[in-house]
């Protein structure tokens, strides 16, 4: 019988069915970070249990980590760092700590280290684990209680999700990015459109994306309500993995693995529970106007008004968002001025994102009164950026290109925060109220739009410069 990629991955990892539609699923790699894990280890200890497969577990310091020279964690952040170090030492778990050559945001580091390979299951106490689905991996975020379960058993009791196909036909126009495609999808299906489902991204526009762009797309699956996003294996995937293995110098022979990897795609006549179709050619650069990722529109659009909503409840929600964001119905998004521009995060902190940013900034300056903060997603990405001379472009433009790597301004858990009332154009993934600092205002954009916005101080497309 023809199977979807999600079905293949799922069925290959069922240890035993638990009845009622739930299965005990085996976890090939369990990734941890410092924020959501302390209580899981405490509970493990209290129950007198240990970590069943520490060699299939990896920890990274990323959320609380300062990214500037001499930057400091606050007391709570330092305590979390100390706890993950102590817990990893006690249970024999490999940890990439602040300052390590392989440190960075979990979802950037794992593929860099060649640890995410087609056919695997990967879980992490972070919702954006979906990023790794770009490699034909069933990867998803879990909660702290589930972290303890995976630590103790290397398995997870979980209800099988539905299959949602997102078919993107045609080709994305020049200057339109995977971030714009993700925002287009979320605006279409809403923040709950993918609930209870795994999204598989398909179609010519998806196949035309680079591996890093695919990671951006899968990363934002969770903003559409789906726990996981997937893309079937093709030449792009295999070429990326070959390059990773070569760079790591492990001397692995990939011939056998490659044939297995190529099976990690949906069968031609596989049936999905639901299909959403998008025309790639009609996707435009996007910007969010509200306080959830579905509240976004094309860059040349205007802030929505009552006529744009079908129900009072939707309009009421929009009004609350507009009041928080300090915007008025009908206002042009290109008139919106920003204080800060942030390029980075697990969504857009990879080398291609920094290259795009540099290509727009080259020969230009950041606008007076605007701050441009650029943070590499990993130490390796930063080294690559320096090797390519991108740091010089950033410096000459007047950007603050941080020496460290980590989540930075995406999550408000470290010293990189907006002040109350400050407005940012951000390449991160969430524009929730207070996400980047108490009473802060966030507009989600692609790296290209972020860079152009930094140059003018207001929401801008590179083509406007």
């Amino acid at each position: 019988m023809a199977k979807t990629l999600a079905a293949k991955l799922w069925e290959d990892h069922v240890v035993r069915p638990l009845g009622d539609g739930a299965d005990l699923l085996y976890v090939d790699l369990h990734v941890l970070h410092e924020v959501n894990t302390p209580s899981a280890f405490d509970d493990l200890r209290e129950a007198g249990r240990t970590v069943r497969r520490p060699e299939l577990t990896l920890a990274v310091e990323d959320h609380n980590t300062p990214t500037r020279d001499g930057g400091q964690e606050d007391l709570a952040g330092r305590r979390q760092r100390d706890l993950i170090r102590a817990n990893c030492a006690e249970f024999g778990i490999r940890l990439h700590r602040l300052g390590d050559a392989d440190q960075g945001i979990v979802h950037v580091v794992v593929p860099e280290l060649g640890l995410a390979r087609p056919g695997m299951t990967i879980v992490c106490c972070d919702s954006h684990t979906s990023t790794l689905g770009a490699l034909g991996v069933l990867a998803f975020g879990i909660g702290t209680g589930q972290v303890e379960h995976v630590l103790a058993t290397q398995t997870l009791p979980i209800h099988r999700p539905k299959d949602l196909a997102v078919e993107v036909s045609g080709v994305l126009p020049d200057g339109v990015t995977a971030k714009d495609l993700a925002l287009t999808l979320i605006a279409r299906i809403g923040t709950g459109g993918g609930q209870g489902s795994v999204i598989e991204y398909r179609g010519s526009a998806v196949r035309g994306l680079s591996m890093e762009a695919r990671m951006t797309l899968c990363n934002m699956s969770v903003e559409a309500g789906s726990r996981a996003g997937l893309i079937g294996v093709d030449d792009v995937t295999v070429d990326y993995l070959r390059a990773r293995v070569e760079a790591l110098g492990t001397g692995e022979d990939l011939a056998d693995a490659e044939s297995r990897w190529r099976e990690m795609r949906s069968d031609a006549d596989a049936r999905f529970d639901d299909v959403v179709r998008l025309d790639g050619a009609s996707v435009r650069p996007r910007v969010s106007w509200g306080t959830n990722p579905a509240q976004n529109l094309p860059l040349d659009g205007r802030v929505p008004s009552r006529v744009d909503f079908t129900s009072e409840q939707e309009w009421s929600s929009a009004q609350r968002s507009l009041a928080y964001m300090g915007l008025r119905p009908g206002q042009s998004m290109r008139d919106v001025e920003v204080d800060t521009v942030f390029v980075g995060s697990c969504t857009n902190g990879r080398i291609e994102d920094l290259r795009e940013t540099a290509s727009v900034l080259s020969g230009r300056k950041v606008a007076d009164g605007t701050r441009l903060l650029i943070v590499a997603g990993s130490a390796a990405v930063r080294r690559q950026a320096v090797a390519e001379g991108l740091d010089e472009v950033f410096r000459e433009a007047g950007a603050d290109f941080r020496t460290g790597a980590g989540c930075s301004m995406c999550c408000g858990l470290n010293e990189d925060r907006l002040a109350p009332g400050e407005r940012a154009a951000s390449t991160s993934n969430r524009n929730f109220e207070g996400r980047q600092g108490r009473r802060s205002r966030t507009h989600l954009v692609s790296p290209r739009v972020a860079a152009a916005t930094a140059v003018t101080g207001r929401i801008t497309a590179p083509e406007d410069l």
Partner: protein, 197 residues
């Protein structure tokens, strides 16, 4: 130990969709490590508005929170659940939940009860008219009741089983450790070294 399968309490009508975990537990409180001391964290930023529904005296002591679409979207932080429980909530009724939030809630014994959105709208209206209206959630019959009205819960069997019989899920899994070992052996024997390393 028996687990209650029914809960009756007064409700708070939170007329908001897309309530994300950054509101349930703002980032500055995430570094708390254990599920205590969270009483003033829930909706900390929204509570600065004196008219915010949770600040109203008639809703003090409520144990049922009624929200709109897509409750608990966003980050996987478990402190979102702790914040709700510390504020006295035992049940959240909504017309949709974030998947990870729902898992966290179920693990920690907070009931996430999904109903059709028109039921949410009706419940909002009724509770706004009578803040002391008792609301009953009965897991066994899969019904939500208030006044004379009864509405079905959208709840699948695995979730229902976990709510009614929480138990020690890790102990349950470790009882099948032989199955796990057999699975691991089969993976290695068929040459999946890279996935079993």
């Amino acid at each position: 130990m028996s687990t209650p399968t029914s809960h009756t309490g007064t409700a708070v009508p939170l007329r908001r969709d897309d309530v994300d975990t950054d509101q349930l537990s703002p980032a500055r409180f995430v570094p708390y490590f254990r599920p205590h001391g969270f009483t003033n964290i829930l909706f900390a930023d929204w509570r600065s508005d004196p008219d915010f529904v949770l600040n109203r005296p008639e809703h003090q002591g409520a144990s049922v929170l009624v929200a709109g679409h897509d409750f608990g979207t966003g980050s996987s932080r478990e402190s979102a659940v702790w914040a709700l429980q510390s504020a006295g909530f035992q049940v959240v009724v909504a017309s949709g939940f974030g998947d990870i939030f729902r898992d966290n809630a179920t693990t920690r014994g907070l009931w996430t009860v999904e109903v059709d959105h028109d039921v949410v709208e009706e419940l909002w209206r009724e509770v706004e008219a009578d803040p002391w209206l008792p609301v009953t959630v009965d897991l066994t019959s899969r019904r939500l009741g208030f006044r004379a009205a009864e509405s079905p819960l959208r709840i699948d069997d695995p979730l229902l089983r976990r709510l009614v019989r929480p138990g020690d899920r890790i102990a349950e899994t470790l009882a099948h450790v032989a199955d796990i070992e057999e699975y691991e052996s089969s993976r290695i024997s068929r040459g999946d070294e890279e996935r079993a390393r």
